[in-house]
Amino acid sequence: MSDTINQAARKGFLVDTARCIGCRSCQVACKQWNKLDADKTANKGTFENPRDLTPSLYNRIKFIESDVSGEVTWRFLNERCMHCGDAGCMKVCPSPGALFRTKDGIVGFNKDKCISCKYCVSACPFNIPRYGADDKVSKCNLCLDRVGGGMSPACAKACPTEALKFGKRTEMLDKAKAAKKPIYGENALNGMGVAYALEGPPEQYGLPASPSIPMSIFLWKDVVKPLGILGFWGSIGAMLLHYVTIGPKKIDDNGDGEENGHE
Protein backbone atom coordinates (compact mmCIF):
# COMPACT_ATOMS: atom_id res chain seq x y z
CA MET A 1 0.00 0.00 0.00
CA SER A 2 0.96 3.60 -0.29
CA ASP A 3 0.91 3.90 3.49
CA THR A 4 4.26 2.81 4.83
CA ILE A 5 5.51 3.55 8.27
CA ASN A 6 8.94 3.59 9.83
CA GLN A 7 8.31 2.23 13.33
CA ALA A 8 11.66 3.38 14.70
CA ALA A 9 11.06 7.00 13.72
CA ARG A 10 7.51 7.19 15.03
CA LYS A 11 6.57 9.88 17.49
CA GLY A 12 3.42 9.78 19.51
CA PHE A 13 1.66 10.05 22.83
CA LEU A 14 1.65 7.97 25.90
CA VAL A 15 -1.49 8.90 27.79
CA ASP A 16 -1.20 7.98 31.45
CA THR A 17 -4.82 8.21 32.55
CA ALA A 18 -3.87 7.91 36.23
CA ARG A 19 -2.18 11.30 36.02
CA CYS A 20 -5.04 13.10 34.26
CA ILE A 21 -6.91 15.54 36.46
CA GLY A 22 -9.55 16.46 33.88
CA CYS A 23 -8.48 20.09 33.63
CA ARG A 24 -8.95 20.15 29.84
CA SER A 25 -5.91 22.32 29.24
CA CYS A 26 -5.29 20.05 26.24
CA GLN A 27 -8.65 20.96 24.74
CA VAL A 28 -8.05 24.66 25.15
CA ALA A 29 -4.45 24.62 23.93
CA CYS A 30 -5.48 22.63 20.86
CA LYS A 31 -8.20 25.13 19.97
CA GLN A 32 -5.76 27.97 20.40
CA TRP A 33 -2.94 26.56 18.29
CA ASN A 34 -5.15 25.17 15.54
CA LYS A 35 -7.37 28.29 15.54
CA LEU A 36 -10.57 26.31 16.05
CA ASP A 37 -13.89 27.97 16.83
CA ALA A 38 -15.69 27.39 20.10
CA ASP A 39 -18.69 25.07 20.01
CA LYS A 40 -21.94 25.91 21.71
CA THR A 41 -22.72 23.22 24.22
CA ALA A 42 -25.43 22.48 26.75
CA ASN A 43 -25.18 21.36 30.34
CA LYS A 44 -26.40 17.79 30.58
CA GLY A 45 -25.61 17.24 34.23
CA THR A 46 -21.98 16.23 33.83
CA PHE A 47 -18.63 17.96 33.83
CA GLU A 48 -17.90 16.40 30.45
CA ASN A 49 -17.98 19.19 27.92
CA PRO A 50 -18.34 18.99 24.96
CA ARG A 51 -19.96 15.57 24.95
CA ASP A 52 -18.40 14.50 21.66
CA LEU A 53 -15.64 15.43 19.23
CA THR A 54 -16.71 18.02 16.67
CA PRO A 55 -15.19 19.42 13.47
CA SER A 56 -13.58 22.11 15.62
CA LEU A 57 -12.67 19.93 18.57
CA TYR A 58 -9.72 17.68 17.80
CA ASN A 59 -9.28 16.26 21.27
CA ARG A 60 -11.32 16.20 24.42
CA ILE A 61 -11.44 14.68 27.85
CA LYS A 62 -14.02 11.99 28.29
CA PHE A 63 -15.38 11.90 31.85
CA ILE A 64 -16.36 8.42 32.93
CA GLU A 65 -18.27 8.03 36.16
CA SER A 66 -18.64 4.46 37.28
CA ASP A 67 -19.70 2.53 40.32
CA VAL A 68 -16.88 0.20 41.32
CA SER A 69 -17.95 -1.92 44.34
CA GLY A 70 -20.08 0.77 45.92
CA GLU A 71 -17.58 3.54 45.36
CA VAL A 72 -17.96 6.14 42.66
CA THR A 73 -14.83 6.45 40.56
CA TRP A 74 -14.14 9.18 38.10
CA ARG A 75 -11.91 8.49 35.17
CA PHE A 76 -10.61 10.73 32.45
CA LEU A 77 -9.66 9.71 28.95
CA ASN A 78 -8.10 11.87 26.31
CA GLU A 79 -10.05 11.07 23.14
CA ARG A 80 -8.59 11.88 19.75
CA CYS A 81 -7.28 10.44 16.50
CA MET A 82 -5.01 7.51 17.41
CA HIS A 83 -2.68 7.95 14.41
CA CYS A 84 -2.85 4.19 13.78
CA GLY A 85 0.13 2.49 12.15
CA ASP A 86 -2.41 0.71 9.93
CA ALA A 87 -4.89 3.54 9.49
CA GLY A 88 -8.38 2.63 8.25
CA CYS A 89 -8.96 6.19 7.07
CA MET A 90 -5.88 6.14 4.85
CA LYS A 91 -6.77 2.69 3.55
CA VAL A 92 -10.09 3.89 2.14
CA CYS A 93 -9.34 7.51 1.22
CA PRO A 94 -9.66 7.79 -2.59
CA SER A 95 -7.94 11.16 -2.82
CA PRO A 96 -4.13 10.93 -2.59
CA GLY A 97 -2.78 13.48 -0.15
CA ALA A 98 -6.09 14.23 1.56
CA LEU A 99 -4.88 12.01 4.39
CA PHE A 100 -1.15 11.53 4.55
CA ARG A 101 1.57 10.12 6.78
CA THR A 102 4.45 12.31 7.93
CA LYS A 103 7.93 10.99 8.57
CA ASP A 104 7.11 11.09 12.28
CA GLY A 105 4.25 8.67 11.69
CA ILE A 106 1.51 11.26 12.10
CA VAL A 107 -1.69 10.93 10.05
CA GLY A 108 -2.28 14.45 8.77
CA PHE A 109 -5.04 15.80 6.59
CA ASN A 110 -5.30 18.36 3.82
CA LYS A 111 -8.74 19.89 3.38
CA ASP A 112 -7.86 21.15 -0.11
CA LYS A 113 -7.47 17.58 -1.32
CA CYS A 114 -10.45 16.13 0.57
CA ILE A 115 -13.30 15.27 -1.81
CA SER A 116 -15.95 14.90 0.92
CA CYS A 117 -16.68 11.20 0.30
CA LYS A 118 -16.62 10.52 4.07
CA TYR A 119 -15.21 7.01 3.61
CA CYS A 120 -12.80 7.74 6.47
CA VAL A 121 -15.76 8.18 8.83
CA SER A 122 -16.81 4.59 8.13
CA ALA A 123 -13.34 3.08 8.16
CA CYS A 124 -12.05 4.53 11.45
CA PRO A 125 -11.91 1.90 14.21
CA PHE A 126 -12.53 4.66 16.77
CA ASN A 127 -15.13 6.82 14.98
CA ILE A 128 -12.93 9.93 15.06
CA PRO A 129 -13.09 11.91 11.78
CA ARG A 130 -15.71 14.67 11.73
CA TYR A 131 -17.17 16.71 8.87
CA GLY A 132 -18.28 20.27 9.45
CA ALA A 133 -20.07 22.95 7.45
CA ASP A 134 -17.20 22.97 4.92
CA ASP A 135 -17.89 19.26 4.23
CA LYS A 136 -14.21 18.43 4.68
CA VAL A 137 -12.45 16.01 6.99
CA SER A 138 -11.17 17.22 10.33
CA LYS A 139 -9.49 15.43 13.20
CA CYS A 140 -6.39 15.69 15.37
CA ASN A 141 -3.37 16.28 13.14
CA LEU A 142 -0.99 15.95 16.09
CA CYS A 143 0.14 19.54 15.50
CA LEU A 144 2.29 18.21 12.71
CA ASP A 145 3.59 21.72 12.03
CA ARG A 146 4.91 21.99 15.59
CA VAL A 147 6.24 18.43 15.64
CA GLY A 148 7.91 18.94 12.27
CA GLY A 149 9.68 21.92 13.81
CA GLY A 150 10.94 19.89 16.76
CA MET A 151 8.32 21.09 19.26
CA SER A 152 5.75 19.07 21.12
CA PRO A 153 2.06 19.32 20.24
CA ALA A 154 0.05 22.09 21.88
CA CYS A 155 -1.97 19.69 24.06
CA ALA A 156 1.10 17.95 25.49
CA LYS A 157 2.81 21.29 26.03
CA ALA A 158 -0.19 22.51 28.01
CA CYS A 159 -0.74 19.37 30.08
CA PRO A 160 0.25 20.27 33.69
CA THR A 161 0.53 16.70 34.99
CA GLU A 162 2.36 14.93 32.16
CA ALA A 163 -0.69 12.75 31.63
CA LEU A 164 -0.15 13.54 27.97
CA LYS A 165 3.43 12.68 27.22
CA PHE A 166 4.79 13.17 23.75
CA GLY A 167 8.02 11.81 22.33
CA LYS A 168 9.65 8.93 20.52
CA ARG A 169 7.10 6.17 20.57
CA THR A 170 9.44 3.24 21.24
CA GLU A 171 11.23 5.00 24.09
CA MET A 172 8.01 5.97 25.84
CA LEU A 173 6.59 2.47 25.50
CA ASP A 174 9.78 0.92 26.88
CA LYS A 175 9.68 3.25 29.88
CA ALA A 176 6.02 2.56 30.58
CA LYS A 177 6.56 -1.17 30.30
CA ALA A 178 9.54 -0.94 32.66
CA ALA A 179 7.19 0.74 35.13
CA LYS A 180 4.90 -2.31 34.74
CA LYS A 181 2.04 -0.32 33.29
CA PRO A 182 -0.47 -2.15 31.12
CA ILE A 183 -0.32 -0.60 27.68
CA TYR A 184 -3.27 -0.16 25.35
CA GLY A 185 -2.42 0.29 21.68
CA GLU A 186 1.13 -1.05 21.57
CA ASN A 187 0.65 -3.54 18.76
CA ALA A 188 -2.96 -3.17 17.67
CA LEU A 189 -3.40 -1.61 14.21
CA ASN A 190 0.33 -1.86 13.60
CA GLY A 191 0.88 0.22 16.69
CA MET A 192 -1.23 3.19 17.65
CA GLY A 193 0.43 6.60 17.65
CA VAL A 194 -1.56 7.29 20.80
CA ALA A 195 -0.94 4.57 23.38
CA TYR A 196 -2.59 4.51 26.80
CA ALA A 197 -1.67 3.34 30.26
CA LEU A 198 -5.18 2.65 31.52
CA GLU A 199 -6.29 2.02 35.08
CA GLY A 200 -8.85 -0.58 34.10
CA PRO A 201 -10.06 -2.66 31.18
CA PRO A 202 -10.40 -0.64 27.95
CA GLU A 203 -14.15 -1.28 27.82
CA GLN A 204 -14.54 0.85 30.97
CA TYR A 205 -13.21 3.75 28.94
CA GLY A 206 -15.45 3.04 25.98
CA LEU A 207 -12.51 1.72 23.97
CA PRO A 208 -12.70 -1.53 21.96
CA ALA A 209 -10.75 -4.31 23.72
CA SER A 210 -8.98 -5.30 20.51
CA PRO A 211 -9.33 -2.47 18.03
CA SER A 212 -9.21 -3.37 14.35
CA ILE A 213 -10.28 -2.06 10.98
CA PRO A 214 -14.00 -2.92 10.57
CA MET A 215 -14.53 -6.30 8.88
CA SER A 216 -16.64 -4.89 6.02
CA ILE A 217 -13.95 -2.31 5.28
CA PHE A 218 -11.25 -5.00 5.24
CA LEU A 219 -13.30 -7.20 2.89
CA TRP A 220 -14.06 -4.21 0.69
CA LYS A 221 -10.55 -2.90 0.24
CA ASP A 222 -8.38 -5.99 0.66
CA VAL A 223 -10.55 -8.71 -0.87
CA VAL A 224 -13.29 -7.47 -3.21
CA LYS A 225 -11.29 -4.59 -4.69
CA PRO A 226 -8.30 -6.64 -5.95
CA LEU A 227 -10.50 -9.59 -6.97
CA GLY A 228 -12.77 -7.17 -8.84
CA ILE A 229 -9.89 -5.84 -10.94
CA LEU A 230 -8.93 -9.45 -11.67
CA GLY A 231 -12.54 -10.24 -12.57
CA PHE A 232 -12.75 -7.26 -14.92
CA TRP A 233 -9.69 -8.19 -16.95
CA GLY A 234 -10.53 -11.89 -16.64
CA SER A 235 -13.92 -11.27 -18.25
CA ILE A 236 -12.40 -9.32 -21.11
CA GLY A 237 -9.75 -11.98 -21.56
CA ALA A 238 -12.34 -14.75 -21.54
CA MET A 239 -14.40 -13.01 -24.20
CA LEU A 240 -11.37 -12.48 -26.45
CA LEU A 241 -10.32 -16.08 -25.91
CA HIS A 242 -13.81 -17.21 -26.87
CA TYR A 243 -13.68 -15.14 -30.03
CA VAL A 244 -10.40 -16.60 -31.25
CA THR A 245 -11.07 -20.20 -30.20
CA ILE A 246 -14.74 -21.00 -30.65
CA GLY A 247 -15.60 -17.87 -32.53
CA PRO A 248 -18.75 -15.93 -33.22
CA LYS A 249 -22.11 -17.38 -34.21
CA LYS A 250 -22.40 -16.21 -37.78
CA ILE A 251 -25.90 -16.00 -39.16
CA ASP A 252 -25.06 -17.04 -42.69
CA ASP A 253 -22.71 -19.79 -41.64
CA ASN A 254 -23.73 -23.16 -43.03
CA GLY A 255 -20.22 -24.29 -43.73
CA ASP A 256 -19.80 -26.60 -40.75
CA GLY A 257 -21.91 -29.30 -42.35
CA GLU A 258 -24.73 -28.94 -39.87
CA GLU A 259 -28.08 -27.49 -40.51
CA ASN A 260 -28.35 -24.34 -38.48
CA GLY A 261 -29.96 -21.81 -40.73
CA HIS A 262 -33.28 -23.27 -41.82
CA GLU A 263 -32.98 -21.21 -44.92
Binding site: P96, S216, G228, M239
Partner: protein
Protein backbone atom coordinates in the same frame (compact mmCIF):
# COMPACT_ATOMS: atom_id res chain seq x y z
CA UNK B 1 -39.68 -8.93 -49.86
CA UNK B 2 -38.55 -7.24 -46.67
CA UNK B 3 -35.44 -8.86 -45.24
CA UNK B 4 -35.94 -7.24 -41.83
CA UNK B 5 -38.31 -7.45 -38.87
CA UNK B 6 -38.58 -5.12 -35.91
CA UNK B 7 -37.06 -6.34 -32.65
CA UNK B 8 -37.03 -3.24 -30.43
CA UNK B 9 -39.26 -0.20 -30.72
CA UNK B 10 -37.84 3.30 -30.72
CA UNK B 11 -38.78 3.93 -27.10
CA UNK B 12 -37.22 0.61 -26.04
CA UNK B 13 -34.00 1.53 -27.82
CA UNK B 14 -33.83 5.02 -26.36
CA UNK B 15 -34.46 3.65 -22.88
CA UNK B 16 -31.72 1.05 -23.36
CA UNK B 17 -29.20 3.74 -24.33
CA UNK B 18 -30.19 5.94 -21.39
CA UNK B 19 -29.47 2.96 -19.12
CA UNK B 20 -26.22 2.32 -20.99
CA UNK B 21 -25.12 5.94 -20.89
CA UNK B 22 -25.82 6.33 -17.20
CA UNK B 23 -24.12 2.99 -16.47
CA UNK B 24 -20.89 3.97 -18.15
CA UNK B 25 -20.95 7.46 -16.64
CA UNK B 26 -21.37 5.77 -13.26
CA UNK B 27 -18.45 3.51 -14.13
CA UNK B 28 -16.17 6.39 -15.09
CA UNK B 29 -17.14 8.61 -12.15
CA UNK B 30 -16.92 5.66 -9.77
CA UNK B 31 -13.53 4.33 -10.86
CA UNK B 32 -11.67 6.95 -8.83
CA UNK B 33 -13.73 5.95 -5.81
CA UNK B 34 -13.04 2.26 -6.42
CA UNK B 35 -9.31 2.60 -5.94
CA UNK B 36 -6.58 5.21 -5.80
CA UNK B 37 -5.12 3.33 -8.81
CA UNK B 38 -7.83 4.97 -10.93
CA UNK B 39 -7.55 8.42 -9.41
CA UNK B 40 -6.76 9.85 -12.86
CA UNK B 41 -10.34 9.22 -14.02
CA UNK B 42 -11.50 12.02 -11.70
CA UNK B 43 -9.82 14.52 -14.01
CA UNK B 44 -12.32 13.59 -16.75
CA UNK B 45 -14.90 15.37 -14.63
CA UNK B 46 -12.81 18.14 -13.15
CA UNK B 47 -11.96 16.53 -9.83
CA UNK B 48 -13.24 14.12 -7.27
CA UNK B 49 -16.00 16.30 -5.84
CA UNK B 50 -17.58 16.87 -9.25
CA UNK B 51 -17.20 13.18 -10.06
CA UNK B 52 -19.04 12.28 -6.83
CA UNK B 53 -21.82 14.73 -7.67
CA UNK B 54 -22.16 13.28 -11.18
CA UNK B 55 -22.12 9.79 -9.67
CA UNK B 56 -25.09 10.70 -7.47
CA UNK B 57 -27.08 12.31 -10.30
CA UNK B 58 -26.35 9.46 -12.72
CA UNK B 59 -27.14 6.98 -9.97
CA UNK B 60 -30.66 8.34 -9.77
CA UNK B 61 -31.01 8.29 -13.58
CA UNK B 62 -29.68 4.75 -13.81
CA UNK B 63 -31.81 3.51 -10.93
CA UNK B 64 -35.13 4.62 -12.34
CA UNK B 65 -34.39 3.90 -16.02
CA UNK B 66 -32.99 0.46 -15.25
CA UNK B 67 -35.90 -0.51 -12.99
CA UNK B 68 -38.36 0.83 -15.57
CA UNK B 69 -36.67 -1.19 -18.30
CA UNK B 70 -36.91 -4.34 -16.21
CA UNK B 71 -40.58 -3.79 -15.42
CA UNK B 72 -41.28 -3.37 -19.15
CA UNK B 73 -39.83 -6.80 -19.84
CA UNK B 74 -40.61 -8.50 -16.57
CA UNK B 75 -42.88 -11.13 -18.09
CA UNK B 76 -40.51 -11.99 -20.94
CA UNK B 77 -37.40 -12.33 -18.80
CA UNK B 78 -38.66 -14.07 -15.69
CA UNK B 79 -40.21 -17.23 -17.14
CA UNK B 80 -38.29 -20.21 -18.47
CA UNK B 81 -39.78 -22.81 -20.83
CA UNK B 82 -38.58 -26.22 -22.09
CA UNK B 83 -36.57 -24.70 -24.92
CA UNK B 84 -34.75 -22.59 -22.38
CA UNK B 85 -33.72 -25.62 -20.33
CA UNK B 86 -32.22 -27.29 -23.40
CA UNK B 87 -30.31 -24.06 -24.06
CA UNK B 88 -29.02 -24.01 -20.48
CA UNK B 89 -27.92 -27.67 -20.61
CA UNK B 90 -25.89 -27.00 -23.75
CA UNK B 91 -24.55 -23.65 -22.54
CA UNK B 92 -26.38 -21.94 -25.37
CA UNK B 93 -24.09 -23.63 -27.88
CA UNK B 94 -21.34 -21.19 -26.96
CA UNK B 95 -18.81 -23.88 -26.10
CA UNK B 96 -18.75 -25.50 -29.52
CA UNK B 97 -18.22 -24.41 -33.12
CA UNK B 98 -20.87 -26.75 -34.39
CA UNK B 99 -24.27 -25.27 -34.86
CA UNK B 100 -26.87 -25.97 -32.26
CA UNK B 101 -30.49 -25.34 -32.86
CA UNK B 102 -32.48 -24.04 -29.92
CA UNK B 103 -36.15 -23.32 -29.64
CA UNK B 104 -35.82 -19.87 -28.13
CA UNK B 105 -38.41 -17.12 -27.75
CA UNK B 106 -37.71 -13.39 -27.70
CA UNK B 107 -34.92 -13.80 -25.13
CA UNK B 108 -32.62 -16.72 -24.40
CA UNK B 109 -31.93 -17.80 -20.80
CA UNK B 110 -28.62 -15.98 -20.76
CA UNK B 111 -30.34 -12.72 -21.64
CA UNK B 112 -33.05 -13.41 -19.07
CA UNK B 113 -30.47 -14.08 -16.38
CA UNK B 114 -28.66 -10.87 -17.31
CA UNK B 115 -31.86 -8.84 -17.12
CA UNK B 116 -32.81 -10.27 -13.72
CA UNK B 117 -29.30 -9.84 -12.36
CA UNK B 118 -29.05 -6.23 -13.49
CA UNK B 119 -32.46 -5.47 -11.98
CA UNK B 120 -31.38 -7.00 -8.66
CA UNK B 121 -28.04 -5.20 -8.84
CA UNK B 122 -29.80 -1.91 -9.58
CA UNK B 123 -31.87 -2.30 -6.43
CA UNK B 124 -28.84 -3.32 -4.37
CA UNK B 125 -26.62 -0.55 -5.72
CA UNK B 126 -29.37 2.03 -5.31
CA UNK B 127 -30.19 1.16 -1.74
CA UNK B 128 -26.57 0.81 -0.61
CA UNK B 129 -25.86 4.02 -2.51
CA UNK B 130 -28.31 5.94 -0.32
CA UNK B 131 -26.43 4.87 2.81
CA UNK B 132 -23.08 5.84 1.26
CA UNK B 133 -24.58 9.17 0.13
CA UNK B 134 -25.58 10.13 3.69
CA UNK B 135 -23.12 8.24 5.90
CA UNK B 136 -23.60 10.52 8.90
CA UNK B 137 -27.32 9.80 9.17
CA UNK B 138 -27.11 6.02 9.44
CA UNK B 139 -25.46 3.61 11.88
CA UNK B 140 -21.83 3.02 11.02
CA UNK B 141 -22.22 -0.72 10.44
CA UNK B 142 -24.87 -0.14 7.76
CA UNK B 143 -22.63 2.29 5.89
CA UNK B 144 -19.61 -0.01 6.25
CA UNK B 145 -21.57 -2.95 4.88
CA UNK B 146 -22.99 -0.78 2.09
CA UNK B 147 -19.50 0.21 0.95
CA UNK B 148 -18.56 -3.46 0.67
CA UNK B 149 -21.84 -4.48 -0.95
CA UNK B 150 -21.86 -1.57 -3.43
CA UNK B 151 -18.39 -2.60 -4.58
CA UNK B 152 -19.35 -6.27 -4.81
CA UNK B 153 -22.48 -5.62 -6.86
CA UNK B 154 -20.55 -3.28 -9.14
CA UNK B 155 -17.94 -5.96 -9.81
CA UNK B 156 -20.68 -8.48 -10.61
CA UNK B 157 -22.39 -5.97 -12.89
CA UNK B 158 -19.31 -4.95 -14.85
CA UNK B 159 -18.32 -8.59 -15.42
CA UNK B 160 -21.82 -9.40 -16.67
CA UNK B 161 -21.87 -6.26 -18.82
CA UNK B 162 -18.61 -7.28 -20.49
CA UNK B 163 -20.20 -10.61 -21.46
CA UNK B 164 -23.35 -8.78 -22.58
CA UNK B 165 -21.43 -6.38 -24.80
CA UNK B 166 -19.37 -9.18 -26.34
CA UNK B 167 -22.38 -11.36 -27.13
CA UNK B 168 -24.37 -8.42 -28.49
CA UNK B 169 -21.60 -7.28 -30.81
CA UNK B 170 -18.76 -9.38 -32.22
CA UNK B 171 -19.90 -12.59 -30.54
CA UNK B 172 -23.14 -12.69 -32.50
CA UNK B 173 -22.85 -10.69 -35.72
CA UNK B 174 -26.07 -8.95 -36.64
CA UNK B 175 -27.31 -8.58 -33.08
CA UNK B 176 -26.31 -4.97 -32.51
CA UNK B 177 -28.67 -3.84 -35.28
CA UNK B 178 -31.58 -4.60 -32.97
CA UNK B 179 -30.41 -1.88 -30.61
CA UNK B 180 -29.31 0.58 -33.31
CA UNK B 181 -32.06 0.68 -35.92
CA UNK B 182 -34.48 -1.64 -34.16
CA UNK B 183 -34.69 -4.07 -37.07
CA UNK B 184 -32.89 -7.38 -37.37
CA UNK B 185 -32.42 -9.56 -40.40
CA UNK B 186 -34.92 -12.39 -40.70
CA UNK B 187 -32.18 -15.00 -40.99
CA UNK B 188 -30.76 -13.65 -37.73
CA UNK B 189 -34.13 -14.00 -36.01
CA UNK B 190 -34.65 -17.52 -37.38
CA UNK B 191 -31.22 -18.61 -36.15
CA UNK B 192 -31.20 -17.02 -32.70
CA UNK B 193 -34.85 -16.69 -31.71
CA UNK B 194 -36.89 -19.07 -33.91
CA UNK B 195 -39.86 -19.28 -31.56
CA UNK B 196 -40.09 -15.50 -31.35
CA UNK B 197 -39.76 -15.28 -35.16
CA UNK B 198 -42.66 -17.68 -35.61
CA UNK B 199 -44.76 -15.71 -33.12
CA UNK B 200 -44.27 -12.34 -34.74
CA UNK B 201 -44.64 -13.60 -38.33
CA UNK B 202 -47.32 -16.24 -37.91
CA UNK B 203 -49.85 -14.48 -40.09
CA UNK B 204 -47.24 -13.40 -42.63
CA UNK B 205 -44.37 -15.89 -42.65
Amino acid sequence: MNKYIERFSTSERVLHWIVTGSFFTLLLTGLGLYSRLFHGYFSLFGGGQVAILMHKIMGVVFFFSSIYMFLNHKKDVSTFDDGDWVWIKKYGGYLTRYGNHFDIGKYNPGQKLFAVFIAAATLALGISGIFIWFPLFFPRWIVQFSLLFHCLMFVGSIMFVIVHVYLATIGNPGTIEAMLYGDVRKIWAKKHHPKWYKEVTHDNP
